[in-house]
Symmetry: C2
């Protein structure tokens, strides 16, 4: 086959797969936001049928041969096509090396683990889930060896999720984070907390919906390209840069929750809406990695959204929407309330300062599990010990402890660090941005689009063309450096708590 | 191939096609209710790709051979399978007999006609649309001849939409309807109209949403099986009996509009939710025909929803939701207001009494077009003449005249009569129901579920297993008879207007 012909075939396959992903993505979004409860059976059946079709479209000898041919001739391809081939090869690496019967058995265990985990979490019954976790760990170690026999198994999985961020990088990263944040958190624990009760008054949902519209407007999100839906657990999905969907969840007694969900998810959407047009229809559309995606959502949520400048910009409108609830509250009080830092039990509800320590607990446990240094039976004890050590909190039950996240039940080990890396990337990006502009001044002046334009030019436009480590070098002119993150948190929270 | 094997193959094909229809259905629903505006390009691309795949899954020699084999052995099949084969054959009859190049050219013209019609409607410019309408008429005459050379072309299309209801039946039907309703409408025109201004006060959308929830509850619609969305033009769709979607459109200054949309679309959904379980995943799930589907939606909307009993049941809650807007209004006034009968220009906004005359205009024009007795150039003049004759109204422009509906631009001729037949079926079904129960008394007592149970037992459970004419015989014990419809309308509106 000629290379030109092979490229055409690759693009044709991508177009076809894209149609399936699009349809399945819309089905998933629909299921999670508006479908009636009993849609579940029909939804699962159709998703299973379509998944099988897409699986067969990728996992077949003809496609392997096509990708191998293109890999051999990588130097003759344009950058986007070369990266598409690389990513396709990466995605198939595991599937090409696992014995089929093990893969099928693993899928079965994964599905069982997911449903058992749901029940175990409700009952806070870790022993119920433990045998399945044990199997998932064993499979993940074995699969890593099939895919990359030369690599440490945990490094293999870490590299899958955040290329270039293996244990040598992460060990140093978390060591620094721990050394700086644990004492800082302890010192803050001795200080009085700001008043925040007003965030928990009665905030009617139809008014909160107006606030969401306003926040998306402030962020410069074009509603013709991005819709907002409502769901139990907020997420963002997109089918192309002109069809993004963010979601939120309104709690009548928690204004902050949806407000910062909208800004966070709006950050994810802004990333993909900023992709260059060449990526429309390409599997490289989206972000460079989970961590880089999270860097943008958390940049908007925390670095911008929880800055004094942003709060001062939006507070007048918030007060206009909720005059009674916010009587006697000013922007300064609001700013302090949404920046309360307090050790807690649940990662997804953690504040900006303590968040990475929640991740560190998971990283340390995963590392030991992947190296056979921790028996799955001992996970709760280790979990609780680490929460006490890093965050100073006592974990009362497995539901609020090691059963809280769904990741392990889905067979996912090595994903968590990207959550923390996202925050660290964000601080480093902020530092680079500040060399060229003053984001606080721009936000205060209502010119947030200039901040977004900078991010688009330095990050968003690339989508998945660049890998995260490379993208960071392009954007910041240097390698990943956690010091920016530590300095950012130390400065911000020292000032907030008058240390 | 063994018959058993052939049936298994048929069911497998159906399952696969069902997955695609499900996904495309959800995409369509999503696009119409929540997708951002600029989703259109990606949506169209993916729908085109998936449509092509489903087309190829049905239109291929292997499938033709399978269906022909099963048709030969129809007597050995169970009823559902036999009807599935029949419907599949019916759906393919045209495609198997049209030369491929003509089909492709027709698709192109259809697509062009649709976009030209949109523009022509906005500009009220019929001559702009006329050349395309001419081509569509010619193709439809030719295609009917390919599919059924022995049939009158208009009969072919009518029979496609509403099996058994060809011109001999419809001519007699419309003759009776015209003879009875035209004078009745003229007499009502001399009577004073009831007060209805209160329906056009300011009705906030978030309160109307509460009303929708209440109406669905009154109708006994299980929200775990049926969601409600918002769209420009309300419709109902469903992916199986446990995943139905109705839609509505809220106008701040028109309470009646969404209220009766919800009841109408709720009727469509109730029909499909009442299918027997054997039809889950079968292409026979749904209704017997468009007309039969419309009979159920209009039964709930008009026969039940605009009855005195129903208005008396729901009015207290409506008044509770809108106490200021409805100050001084009682149930009797509300009942009269939602039953105003007044000749108008737009079919979709017509009242229960005049509705069928709008359909009749279209039927007469289609008949002449399909027989070459009316030049497409003369459609507006004929349209306007008939509106004047039947409804006594002067059509001011093509936008509010012959360009108002999308059907012809989509190449659809012969669909309109089913809208009117639906109402007529409904009145006949009401007559049959009244032999066994008193629906007014049940509604008044808040026992509407008993009405629905009766309809489920006599109509809904069959889905598409029975054809409309046969279903009517099962349900009513006699053939279709328009006298019930005429009597129902005459009695109701004579009483309302004191004739």
């Amino acid at each position: 086959m000629e290379i030109k012909e092979a490229v055409a075939k690759l693009k044709e396959n991508q177009k076809l797969l894209n149609a399936y992903w699009h349809a399945m993505g819309v089905m998933y979004y629909d299921f999670d936001t508006v479908a009636p409860k009993n849609a579940v059976t029909g939804f699962s059946d159709t998703m299973a049928t379509l998944s099988e079709i897409t699986y067969k479209l990728s996992v077949n000898e003809e496609n392997f041969a096509l990708l191998d041919l293109l890999t051999e001739h990588a130097s003759e391809l344009d950058e986007i096509t070369r990266r598409e081939v690389e990513e396709a090869q990466k995605g198939l690496k595991l599937l090409r090396n696992i014995p089929m019967d093990e893969y099928v058995e693993y899928q079965r265990i994964q599905s069982e683990a997911n449903s058992v985990w749901h029940e175990a979490k409700v009952k806070s019954d870790y022993p119920m889930f433990e045998p399945l976790l044990k199997k998932l760990v064993e499979y993940n170690i074995r699969f890593a060896k099939y895919a990359a026999p030369e690599m440490d198994p945990y490094d293999y999985w870490l590299n899958e999720f955040e290329e270039g961020f293996t244990q040598d990088v992460l060990d140093r990263y978390f060591e620094k984070v721990k050394a700086a944040l644990v004492p800082l958190i302890h010192r803050i624990g001795e200080k009085p907390q700001p008043e925040a009760d007003f965030l928990h008054k009665d905030y009617p949902v139809f008014k909160q919906r107006e606030l969401s519209d306003y926040l998306m407007e402030v962020m410069g999100i074009d509603r013709d390209d991005c819709a907002i839906g409502e769901t139990e657990h907020p997420f963002t999905t997109g089918f192309n840069k002109h069809d993004m969907r963010i979601t939120t969840h309104y709690y009548e007694n928690a204004l902050e929750s949806s407000m910062y969900s909208v800004i966070h998810e709006g950050g994810h959407a802004t990333y993909e809406m900023g992709n260059c047009d060449e990526l429309i229809g390409s599997p490289l559309a989206g972000g460079a990695s989970c961590g880089m995606h999270e860097s943008q959502s958390r940049f908007y949520e925390n670095i911008i959204g929880r800055s004094k400048a942003f709060v001062e910009l939006v507070f007048p409108r918030i007060k206009e929407l909720f005059p009674e609830q916010l009587e006697g509250v000013d922007a300064e009080m609001f700013y302090k309330a949404v920046n309360r830092a307090e050790p807690s039990l649940i990662r997804t509800e953690a504040d900006e300062l303590t968040y990475s320590l929640h991740v560190l607990v998971r990283y340390e446990i995963e590392k030991k599990l992947m190296h056979g240094e921790l028996d799955t039976k001992d996970v709760p004890a280790e979990w609780n010990r680490l929460y006490k050590e890093y965050l100073g909190v006592d974990v009362p039950c497995a539901k609020e402890g090691c059963l809280q996240d769904s990741h392990w039940s889905g067979g996912s080990f090595g994903y968590f660090p990207s959550y923390s890396l996202g925050s660290a990337y964000g601080a480093q990006i902020l530092h680079a941005m500040k060399k060229e502009m003053d984001p606080d001044a721009l936000v205060r002046a209502g010119e947030m689009e200039k901040v977004t334009l900078w991010l688009r030019e330095h990050i968003h436009k690339y989508g998945g063309i660049k890998k995260p480590a490379e993208l960071l070098r392009i954007c910041c002119g240097e390698d990943f450096d956690p010091e920016y993150y530590i300095k950012y948190l130390t400065d911000k929270f020292s000032e907030l708590y008058g240390l």
